[in-house]
């Protein structure tokens, strides 16, 4: 069914459009094949039956404990963001401080810090 496709797959695209159209169009050349046997015995007779055949119903009765449970972080998204920015800023500042420079904003930010932390556990 697909043997021809894989053969034709090697030829270069767009080399000869007229020739290409006569054989297999480029967009259908070399369709992927994982197992050439798949669908090889498919017949119209067996077809409708396969769709009519019902799968057995899976009814689990044994309890497998979950390896992991998904929990959502409760921290408010805005507070986490502010906190994150704050930390980032602190990091930058400590770098700058390490370089021996200070600026006027630092004091203001340092004063604000406890307030952020206080409001943190509220949500």
């Amino acid at each position: 069914m697909t043997g021809k496709n894989t053969e034709a797959g090697g030829s270069q695209a767009g080399s000869s459009s007229s020739n290409m159209n006569q054989n297999i169009p480029e967009f259908l050349r070399g369709l992927p094949c994982r197992d050439s046997k798949n669908f090889s015995k498919f017949s119209a007779d067996s077809g409708p039956k396969s769709s009519g055949k019902k799968a057995p119903i899976y009814l689990p009765t044994t309890d497998h404990p979950s390896e992991q449970v998904i929990v959502t972080e409760k921290t408010n998204i805005l507070l986490r963001y502010l906190h994150w920015r704050w930390e980032k800023k602190l990091q930058d500042q400590s770098k700058k401080r390490g370089a021996g420079t200070t600026d006027g904003e630092e004091g203001a930010s340092a004063r604000k810090r406890p307030r952020t932390e206080r409001s943190d556990p509220s949500p």
Partner: protein, 1171 residues
């Protein structure tokens, strides 16, 4: 208190999601379909798709993705339900021991947040580092996939982009990176965000491109290429993509980047460059889904809303001086796709919500229509069920359902009946047939040239006083003669027997014939010249009764030899000698006797009595049969009144145990064994023919779509393989039986959207309202494809000139316009007899068939609305009365109304209509005109009406339900009671005078009761909500009726009433009422089942069935989940015992005692028979 039982008769059929991968093992290629709350797992095999398991999930599946963590050999399945339950499932083991293990579960809902209008989107990083969920506007939830801890800590990241159309992870990124299409006031834009899992934030892009012209982006190419060297993908954005861009396709290595699919164009963007194509072929419709073909991401299958399938090629090589190219090729037409999955070897699965899902083969050469698609197989889909009727077309006392299913080009009517269908292949007119048998006559039969298979070629037919022979050669039938056959007598039995002989038994003798020459070899006559009354034989044994004398004979070469004889107490009524499975010879004979009405077993060859079971009553047994179903031997005894007893038989001792009785028909019944599709079955010939087979070791009695069958024999000729010959009073029908299945679905394609259906018995027709989409051509509207309304035998149109209607606004060429029609469809042939089209702006909304007071004629009444896009609500409409008579549809009357007529109902010989916010009653005058009698105003939009006696139930758009009473004397409506809760209704039904059933748009059912005994007016006015249930699907229609024959079994489950419902996902369910005592018993069983059955995904049953809407969640009340109850029968015996452990039952003598497994099996089996 309300005691309701809800059960699914037909599971949902719409395919919402589909994935492929290695789920059941590292080597299996699986296809997994999600159908509402069920998963179906298939394996791709040489024979096609092999079903593996069906898995129920307690929730509507909103997201389903397969992914493979780096250390796993096979894929895991990630699922999020509509109610935000997330889970990761793994498949362990194979075959019977296959287990679905919930590896990870949890609820990912947030307490606050506006659910996104574009629905839940769930995506997984290609390197399985994290999962991203877009559940609420402006928030992206990240679930990092870490192995170490017992908790997966999900967190939210704020998304600047509020309206996200689509979002995907990009391939080949150092950090997980999403690409999204979002919409703002200026249009739609594409943007990427890199996620830092450590910092739980988006990483600021190293370089910004805010408000940069697309052209300007090219200048940064060098810089970008440098970035691209480090990581294939870096953040990028593209403003103002196509205004309708809606789908992102991430492209894997080696190309990376993404395809952005819009209504008219496809863009490939890889961060550094982009290319857009807008082939004209795309313009006609909009792509809705895609499936990747090549692992390297060169080719994609895409499907659009019109059901066209395309191949999109992304040119892999970036050639010198030439840009990449995107090719879009039309492959052909399939069902309107919802999901597309490339499987293997050019075979593609197209999952559909609006039509049948299909398995499609891509052809390398186009067929004569230029299509590159061959449909290999299709999976029946009823969804969406928009409307339905219950009718008894064959007048067998059994309802069938005719649904309006599918939409657009995949629209169809589906005829659903419980039972088994016979496909008629041929028929022969012959009256007065008493019995018949198929034979092989001539040299070895008709078996030459076709392997070892022997074909029948002759039919021996018995009439009163004569026997005739038909030869069947090919599909030719002609009367013939067999030399040695006694044709001047009625044959009692005829068959091919061993040693190449034919046995014929008549009243006077048993005759052995050569099967090659047909010559008589020998003849056995009962002693004393008496007449044989009943007889049976297999290939080597023969038993016949002369009055109460029973003879046992064996068939040898050239003669039958009497081996034993016995005299029974009474005359023999019927006898059977069917050998047990795989055996040539029977060890046991089964007989039933006159007078004492008993069934007995006798040993062979001695004819020693083994067991006697009295059947009771005075009705004579007519047919007895030994049959083995699923390895369990049964003895069936059919009676003269259409009832049937069945027993288990112990083959060694002959003991008959576990007597049960069912009623199949009303006339004497004849039992014949046959084997369709290699399952052993029994055909019960009577006035209500039935097929008996076994499923899960339970006997199932399935009706057959034939009116009456007197006799049946199996027939396997070259032309009619594995067929049955069925004799009625006047004809022999040759046909094949369907696969054994409970609900039989027949499809009548309309190729346009059916909206409403009504049945008219007097004209034997269905009226169907349907809609097709026409395109504005250069001068007029053009139908793009033939459909039911354009191909009808006769076609009429409402003339637009005479109507006072709002003028249509000017239409652009190519614009689609809805055209509504009334179709008249013959109930037997399902041919469209007549189509009446309404003018393009007139939408047909409601339809009934009814009779008016003082007028014997039966009419189809249609309610319409003129739709003007500029109006918030229709201001005008019509009620049109049609009569179908002599193959012609005539408009009898019309009434202009001030609004849209959403619903119609016949009401005391008058017409009740809901028009916008009002409910109005119209009288039918002697002049055949509708005259308004009275109205009721107190609704937002009155969408649904149901009536019973003087009562009217109104379903409102958002104000739940109201019960009205019509006061004939005063000529007005009295509002009796109302449910004051806000509910957006989708369907309503009256259960009884005081009890009402409703379905609303959050997929819940509820029952309200009117409290007539309340003391104050205010209390009386207020309906009590006595039942609540989450059905998990949107119910579009309720209809009273049943799919099973009423009163088939002797002890039916104590249920009363039956309301069927049809849903958006294509399921059919039913609601019935249980007696309070039985309800509490079944309720206790349900409780025990929830204890034993551990749901996949660890969602509690009580949470799943809890009534849940946007504002509140309340526990399920007054309803029992029949699907859970029925799953009892799928448990093994030990598990059943575990369920039954603490259950008490009240037995027939009113004693309370511990229930046994068999008690519960019996009770649940009875419940399964109500659908």
């Amino acid at each position: 208190m309300s005691h309701n039982y809800v059960v699914t008769a037909q599971k949902p059929t719409a395919v919402n999601h589909c994935v492929t991968g290695n789920f059941t093992s590292p080597t299996d290629l699986n296809l997994i379909m999600a159908k509402n709350n069920r998963l179906e797992v298939f394996i791709v095999s040489p024979e096609g798709l092999q079903p593996v398991k069906e898995i129920g999930i307690y929730g509507l599946i909103s997201v389903m993705k397969l992914f493979r963590p780096c250390d796993e050999e096979k894929n895991l399945l990630f699922i999020v339900t509509q109610h935000y339950n997330a889970m990761i499932l793994e498949c362990v083991g194979r075959g019977e021991s296959l287990e679905i293990v919930t590896k990870v579960h949890g609820n990912v809902a947030d307490r606050i947040g506006k659910p996104a209008e574009t629905g839940i989107i769930g995506i997984i990083d290609p390197e399985s580092r994290c999962i991203a969920l877009r559940l609420y506007d402006g928030i992206l939830k990240i679930i990092p996939l870490e192995k170490e801890s017992g908790e997966l800590k999900a967190y939210n990241i704020r998304l600047e982009e509020l309206t996200v159309q689509d979002i995907e992870f990009l391939y080949g990124c150092a950090n997980p990176t999403v690409v999204l299409i979002h919409q703002d006031a200026h249009g739609r834009h594409v943007k990427t965000h890199e996620i830092s899992l450590k910092e739980k934030e988006f990483i600021r892009s190293p370089w910004k491109q805010e408000n940069v012209e697309p052209e300007a982006a090219m200048i940064d190419l060098v810089l970008m290429c440098l970035c691209a060297l480090c990581f294939p993908q870096s953040p990028w954005k593209q403003e103002n993509v196509e205004p309708e861009a809606a789908m992102i396709v991430p492209v894997p290595a080696p190309l990376y980047g993404a395809l952005i699919v819009g209504q008219e164009s496809i863009t490939y963007h890889n961060g550094s460059s982009y290319i857009t194509v807008a082939p004209p072929i795309l313009k006609q419709s909009t792509m809705t889904c895609y499936g990747r073909v090549d692992p390297n991401g060169c080719r994609y299958l895409m499907g659009d809303m019109a059901g066209r399938l395309f191949m999109v090629l992304l040119d892999g090589e970036e050639k010198e001086g030439a840009e990449r190219d995107i090719q879009v090729e039309l492959l052909g037409e399939c069902s309107i796709p919802e999901c597309i999955n490339y499987l293997d070897n050019g075979v593609v699965f197209v999952g559909s919500r609006l039509g049948d899902s299909q398995l499609v083969q891509l052809r390398v050469q186009p067929d004569e229509n230029g299509s590159y698609l061959t449909v290999l197989d299709s999976h029946t889909n009823l969804a969406p069920i928009v409307d339905m009727v219950v009718v008894d077309l064959e007048r067998q006392g059994q309802g069938q359902l005719v649904t309006c299913s599918g939409a657009f080009k995949d629209g169809s009517l589906r005829v659903i009946r419980n039972g088994i269908g016979i496909h008629e292949l041929a028929s022969i007119d012959l009256a007065g047939i008493k019995a018949m048998w198929s034979l092989r006559v001539g040299a070895g039969g008709d078996g030459d040239g076709d392997g070892d298979e022997l074909f029948d070629n002759t039919l021996v037919i018995a009439f009163v006083g004569e026997t005739r022979v038909l030869s069947l050669v090919g599909d030719e039938v002609e009367e013939t003669e067999i030399a040695g056959l006694a044709s001047d007598q009625q044959t009692f039995f005829c068959s091919n027997v061993q040693h190449s002989q034919i046995l014929q038994v008549t009243a006077s003798s048993a005759r052995l014939l050569s099967d090659s020459t047909g010559r008589l070899l020998s003849e056995w006559r009962p002693p004393g010249g008496r007449n044989i009354s009943v007889v049976t034989a297999n290939t080597c044994q023969l038993a016949c009764a002369v009055g109460s004398d029973l003879f046992y004979l064996e068939i040898e070469s050239g003669e039958v030899v009497q081996k034993s004889m016995t005299t029974l107490e009474h005359e023999v009524a019927c006898i059977d000698l069917t050998p047990s499975a795989g055996q040539q010879r029977a060890e046991l004979a089964a007989v039933a006797l006159w007078t004492d009405i008993s069934a007995r077993t006798l040993s062979l060859p001695a004819l020693q009595p083994l067991c006697k079971e009295c059947l009771g009553g005075e009705i004579i047994p007519r047919s007895i049969l030994l049959a083995e179903f699923e390895g369990v031997p049964y003895c069936l005894v059919a009676m003269g009144d259409g009832s049937l007893f069945y027993f288990h038989v112990h083959l060694k001792s002959g003991l008959l145990t576990e007597k049960k009785k069912v009623t199949l028909g009303t006339q004497p019944t004849v039992l014949r064994a046959f084997r369709p599709h290699s399952t052993s079955s029994v055909f019960a010939c009577s006035d209500r023919p039935a097929v008996i087979y076994s499923s899960n070791y339970k006997l199932v009695f399935s009706n057959v779509n034939l009116r009456e069958v007197n006799h049946m024999c199996t027939l396997n000729t070259r032309a009619y393989r594995n067929s049955l010959a069925l004799a009625t009073d006047t004809t022999i029908t040759i046909g094949v039986v369907d696969d054994i299945q409970k609900l039989h679905i027949r499809s009548v394609k309309l190729y346009e959207s059916p909206r409403r259906i009504a049945y008219q018995e007097s004209t034997e027709t269905f009226g169907v309202l349907s809609m097709r989409l026409d395109e504005q051509g250069s001068s007029c509207l053009v139908a793009p494809r033939p459909s039911a309304s354009t191909e009808a035998k006769t076609i009429t149109q409402s003339s637009s000139s005479q109507l006072h209607r709002p003028s249509l606004q000017q239409l652009e060429q190519g614009q689609e316009v809805e055209v509504h029609s009334l179709l008249i469809i013959d109930q037997h042939t399902f041919e469209v007899q007549h189509a009446h089209s309404f003018v393009p702006s007139e939408y047909a909304l409601s339809l009934i068939s009814m009779k008016f007071d003082n007028d014997p004629a039966c009419y189809f009444v249609v309610g319409t609305a003129y739709v003007n896009p500029e109006e918030s609500e229709p201001k005008q409409g019509r009620i049109v009365v049609f009569q179908y008579n002599d193959q012609k549809l005539n408009q009898v009357s019309e009434k202009e109304i001030k609004g849209a007529c959403y619903s119609l109902a016949a009401f005391n010989g008058k017409l009740l209509a809901s028009i916008n916010s009002t409910v109005r009653l119209f009288e039918w005058t002697a002049e055949h005109e509708l005259r308004l009698e009275c109205s009721h105003f107190n609704n937002v939009v009155a969408l649904y009406l149901k009536t019973k006696g003087d009562f009217v139930l109104v379903g409102d758009l958002m104000r739940s339900i109201t019960a009205l009473q019509y006061k004939a004397m005063e000529g007005n409506f009295d509002e009796m009671a109302r449910d004051f809760n806000a509910k957006y209704m989708t369907a309503v039904e009256i259960l009884d005078d005081d009890t009402y059933l409703g379905a609303e748009n959050s997929h819940n059912l509820f029952v309200c009761q009117k409290d007539s005994a309340a003391t104050t007016d205010e209390e009386r006015m207020q309906m009590q909500e006595v039942g609540r249930y989450h059905v998990g699907d949107m119910v579009n229609v309720f209809r009273h009726g049943s799919l099973v024959m009423q009163g088939v079994t002797e002890s039916m489950a104590p249920t009363s009433g039956c309301v069927l419902f049809g849903t958006v996902q294509g399921s059919v369910g039913l609601v019935t009422q249980l007696e309070p005592e039985f309800y509490s018993f079944i309720s206790e069983l349900q409780h025990q089942l929830t204890r034993v059955i551990r749901p996949v995904g660890k969602i509690e049953h009580s949470a799943w069935r809890a009534y849940r809407c946007e504002r509140k969640t309340e526990p399920c009340e007054g309803f029992i989940d029949g699907d859970l109850i029925e799953s009892f029968l799928d448990l093994n015996r030990d598990q059943m015992a575990e369920v039954v452990r603490d259950l008490m039952i009240t037995d027939s003598s009113s004693q309370r005692r511990a229930a046994t497994v068999d008690d519960i099996i019996k009770a649940v089996e009875e419940l399964t028979r109500i659908h």
